[in-house]
């Protein structure tokens, strides 16, 4: 128990606790219920990034969390501030990103009485948080904050909300308080069961066609080095999920590409034909396994996951292993076996990779192909930039054509698929990794959902390159309508568009519009050579589809639009 200083109020104690937690920056937006908190913030100590919409603050915190692995911290006000934050909280829950979100709340006497700007934040956020708290006594603040950080950043990571009534943030702390966490019922399993690892290794030793499916769990667990050592030691090819991209360099021989709906033919065939599937930190999402009954039909399934509830949720698992990815791989590496002979299997995959690469009509020089833009960016950044996307076709083209190299490199909304994620997440990513080049790739639709955050670029000196792949439509919706709804393009084609270059200029950012396929590469080269934020609108094909594709509900080997080189 710690003696209160008497002079400190709830807000000051809160900020002091955040400093002790090592919080480097806060993303937020003020309002009535958090005035005391912003008053305490006025005295400095922790830099604050003022978003232009609470959704922006949340996605920025997610981008920061994604590239740093550290928790993103957010403050929003009560009622509308909190409801504007909901999308970002749900997004972080879906992608297991650690966030600690403070929502202001009306003063305690008004709670439940429909006070001005009251929303039931506890009720609203319960299903989209790993845990949530409402502070009823200011002396609970340090303990709750420390618990929130522990919960957000351990086990399967996720967002935690702390709902803070205004009176609690104002009142002077007079009682002794506790800082230490008190979570007897929260003990995530980190170390794997030795017997289960042995079973896995025995299965691996006997396998002829093993495949590793590496998901975001490898990134969250900082296990990409161990993954590589393991894969190379036992000659096991690797398929990534969308969120697992970067766990292995895309130029590595063992990398088969992304699996699932818009994944590579090689990856999806490997998933179908393998006799042993080692799933490390992926949750068999329906974009990966859209026909669970037919998924990896010949394989013994091993599933390593830190969240026991994920194991067996979608795919029946022969060898379940509840553990952190790094701990599991380390133990596996310490369990010697004779490496399986996968020579033939690897040859088969290699041949497929050469025969069925991602492709598009490279001969067509009448229009700019969006895939080409991604390839050029890959070249200009040497595959080393942090890549942030929004949601839609451009997101899938980025996943297919950008040559990812390392973990934490791709920042994208995978689980929730949140349009509007790109720009603010890019800002958070750059703030989290200022030494890295950060490129945001967005569609003309998603850009218009959160473009107000462009205001931040100059204000905080955030050096982002933002590429709008303008196909004059909600491309991914248009594609589905063209494929599955008799080309009835219902509300998916824009009749009018803003002048994106002028929008850039309005925010004092360099803006360019690229429309000429012949000069595209040279123009991009010039723009990328310059320092400072830039918005680049590229007028791309308005008819292009993301291919190949698995129709929803179809098994992984039934891809449409596969092109044989």
């Amino acid at each position: 128990m710690i003696e209160a200083t008497k002079s400190e109020n709830g807000s000051q104690l809160l900020l002091r606790t955040l400093k002790k937690q090592g919080v480097e920056m806060i993303f937020g937006y003020p309002g009535g219920a958090v005035l005391p908190l912003y008053d305490a913030l006025y005295d400095g100590g922790i830099p604050h990034i003022l978003a232009r919409h609470e959704q922006g603050a949340l996605h920025a915190a997610e981008g920061y969390a994604k590239v740093t692995g550290k928790p993103g911290v957010v403050i929003v006000t009560s009622g509308p501030g909190a409801t504007n934050a909901i999308t970002g909280i749900a997004d972080a829950m879906s992608d297991s990103l650690p966030l600690v979100v403070f929502t202001g709340q009306v003063a305690t006497p008004g709670i439940g009485k429909d006070a001005f700007q009251e929303a039931d934040v506890m009720g609203l956020t319960m299903p989209i948080t790993k845990n949530n708290y409402q502070v009823r006594d200011s002396k609970d603040l340090p303990r709750m904050i420390n618990e929130a950080f522990q919960i957000a950043t351990t086990g399967r990571k996720g967002p935690v909300v702390i709902d803070l009534p205004k009176d609690i943030s104002l009142v002077k702390i007079s009682e002794k308080y506790q800082e230490t966490v008190d979570l007897p019922s929260y003990q995530p399993t980190v170390e794997p069961n030795t017997l289960q690892i042995q079973k896995m290794m025995t299965a691996l030793a006997a396998a002829k066609k093993p495949v590793i499916l590496a998901g975001a769990g490898v990134i969250h667990g900082e296990a990409s080095t161990e993954l590589l050592v393991f894969a190379e030691k036992y000659n096991v090819p690797i398929v990534n999920t969308l969120l697992g991209l970067g766990t292995i360099s895309s130029v590595h021989e063992l990398f088969l590409g992304m699996g699932g709906m818009h994944g590579s033919y090689t990856a999806n065939m490997a998933l179908t034909e393998c006799d042993l599937l080692l799933n490390i930190g992926s949750r068999f999402d329906d974009r990966l396994a859209s026909a669970p009954k037919d998924f990896a039909p010949n394989a013994t399934i091993v599933h390593i996951d830190i969240d026991p509830a994920e194991i067996g949720k979608v795919i029946e698992t022969a060898i379940p292993i509840v553990a952190d990815a790094k701990a599991a791989l380390k133990k596996a590496l310490n369990t010697p076996i004779t490496p399986p002979d996968t020579q033939e299997w690897r040859q088969q995959n290699k041949a497929r990779k050469a025969q069925y690469p991602f492709s598009y009509d490279r001969e067509n020089t009448d229009e700019i192909k969006p895939q080409k833009v991604i390839e050029i960016i890959g070249k200009l950044t040497n595959g080393e930039a942090i890549i942030v996307t929004d949601v839609g076709q451009h997101q899938m083209w980025t996943a297919q054509f950008y040559p990812f190299r390392y973990a934490h490199q791709l920042v994208t909304s995978g689980g929730l698929g949140t349009m509007g994620y790109g720009i603010p997440a890019g800002i958070g990513a750059k703030l989290g990794a200022p030494e890295k080049e950060v490129v945001v790739i967005v569609g003309d639709g998603g850009f218009q959902m959160t473009n107000q955050e462009l205001a931040i670029l100059n204000e905080y000196g955030v050096d982002l390159k933002i590429i709008i792949l303008n196909n004059q439509s909600l491309g991914m919706v248009r594609q589905w309508q063209e494929k599955f709804h008799n080309e009835r393009r219902s509300e998916s084609v824009f009749r009018t568009q803003p002048d994106f270059v002028k929008m850039a200029e309005a925010y004092q950012i360099k803006g360019s519009r690229l429309a000429n396929p012949a000069t595209l590469e040279q123009e991009l080269t010039t723009i990328f050579a310059e320092k400072g934020p830039a918005l680049i609108e590229v007028l791309v094909s308005t008819t292009e589809h993301v291919l190949p594709m698995i129709a929803p509900g179809s098994p992984n080997d039934q891809m449409i639009g596969v092109v044989n080189r």
Binding site: P184, P308, G312
Partner: protein
């Protein structure tokens, strides 16, 4: 298939909400749910009776519930040696002439009359849900004016 699942949870406000929220979102059908204090003041016991399609589903329920921070321990006690009880209060139409007969019907169920009115009596019966179902069937002929059931509560038997 019917499963009895017990959960020990931190006695904080909102925890019951979380538990029913998880069940609701995963579309599990709650047959009954009961909550009350335990031997430890900070811990409540929730007993849930669910109708699930398979053991696999039941396992999913326990895993999803266990994941909640304020849930301390979840057990599916259906197949373990356990004690379970439910209480029902039943208000029956009972003109004076029928009361003697009612008493004899109640006897094998060890039910009690706990309130007597001019035209009705209130009967209390405890036991497993099956026993209560059987009792309700037997007394239905009298005309049930009102009924309240608590839902099942229970835990594992003492080790022998």
């Amino acid at each position: 298939m019917k499963r009895i699942i017990t959960a020990c949870v931190n006695n904080y406000s909102g925890v019951l909400n979380r538990v029913t929220g998880v069940l609701n979102r995963r579309q599990f059908n709650i047959e009954s749910i009961s909550v009350g204090p335990t031997e430890a003041t900070s811990i409540s016991r929730i007993t849930i009776v669910l109708n699930v399609a398979s053991l696999f589903e039941a396992e999913q329920v326990t895993k999803q519930l266990n994941k909640q921070i304020d849930v301390i321990k979840v057990s599916d006690i259906t197949d373990e040696p356990h004690v379970e009880r439910e209480l029902a209060l039943i208000k029956l139409n009972t003109p004076a002439a029928t009361r003697a007969e009612l008493l004899s019907v109640m006897e094998p169920f060890r039910a009690n009359i706990i309130d007597v009115g001019a035209k009705t009596v209130v009967v209390q019966v405890t036991g497993t849900s099956e026993k209560i179902d059987a009792f309700v069937d037997v007394v239905r002929a009298y005309g049930i004016k009102q009924m309240a059931r608590t839902g099942v509560t229970g835990f594992l038997r003492s080790s022998k």
